[in-house]
Symmetry: C2
Subunit: 146 residues, 2 copies
DNA sequence: GTCTTTCTTTATAATCTTTATAAATAGTGT
DNA sequence: ACACTATTTATAAAGATTATAAAGAAAGAC
């Protein structure tokens, strides 16, 4: 199924006139297969084996291209570096403040919030972002055991 | 009324054993009076006149102290630098993707989301974050006029 | 298949934000 | 006013991201 996602992504790139290079292919493939919301550097390191000469700039450039086309979302938390998430279906993130783990979860409709916000602020609202913060199961258990 | 907020904030600092220096006073005062969600550099520049010798590190250090005490929230969006928001009542942000303007708006309860997330992921959820993105009134009008 | 054009990659340096360090300075309670 | 300790300052360092220019590779035309 993730192969289908990858193929769709590649088609979508072709449709917008973006060239498909081996590096782009590999970055997309890694993102689709990754459940871990990697940083640019994670991706760079992960592909070092396959592309020993690849530049960090290439990773950043292509992540920007993917973001502009809408294939990838950039997540910015408190920590220093952005994380990147392949856009599949709408989901939100639960983030552990102790170990940094990120877990996806679904929630039906926050459209109402968009409508209210639009009404109150006069904005034309396109999308929104939401996360919940706390301690994941492992970390809460560790804390309870002192 | 913002004087009251400032006094409360200073009291709250004293209560936690944090010393009140002229720099801290000024940074808090600026944050309370500012509706613009400034960056650390904005604050630094704004106080240059009053404190010609103040170091950037002082601004960062104190913003961290304020954040740890809970007086200030750090907002990280896609752009390079964090913004800082004096915590008053719970509110959310609408962010213009064209001009960067940030407008506050209130929304009753997203507690339900926290509960669901907690149930689905096993997290102990402490808090959440939400923003809506779009075009502010000025920018949408400009776009319609071609 | 080859050519040509244009986009992309690479390597490197530069920029910008944020943090670390150590010495000098200033709050706070007594 | 004194002493203790936190804070500020100045500076340097770290880390992430972007800019630049030359070399290399996609994609379509022939």
């Amino acid at each position: 199924m993730s192969e289908m996602q990858l193929r769709d992504a590649l088609d979508s790139l072709k449709g917008t006139g973006v060239r498909i290079t081996p590096q782009r292919h590999a970055i997309l493939e890694f993102l689709v297969g990754s459940m871990s919301h990697p940083t640019a550097d994670d991706i760079y390191k992960a592909l070092e084996g396959k592309f020993p000469n690849m530049s960090v700039a290439t990773v950043y450039n292509n992540l920007r291209v993917f973001r502009e086309v809408g294939l990838v979302k950039e997540l910015t938390y408190g920590d220093s570096s952005s994380r990147f998430d392949f856009v599949t279906t709408d989901h939100y993130h639960a983030i552990c403040q102790d170990c940094g783990k990120i877990v996806d979860f679904h929630y039906p409709g926050l459209d109402e919030v968009e409508h209210l916000a639009s009404h109150v602020t006069g904005f034309k609202v396109n999308n929104h972002r939401m996360e919940v913060y706390g301690s994941c199961q492992d970390c809460s258990e560790k804390k309870e055991a002192h």
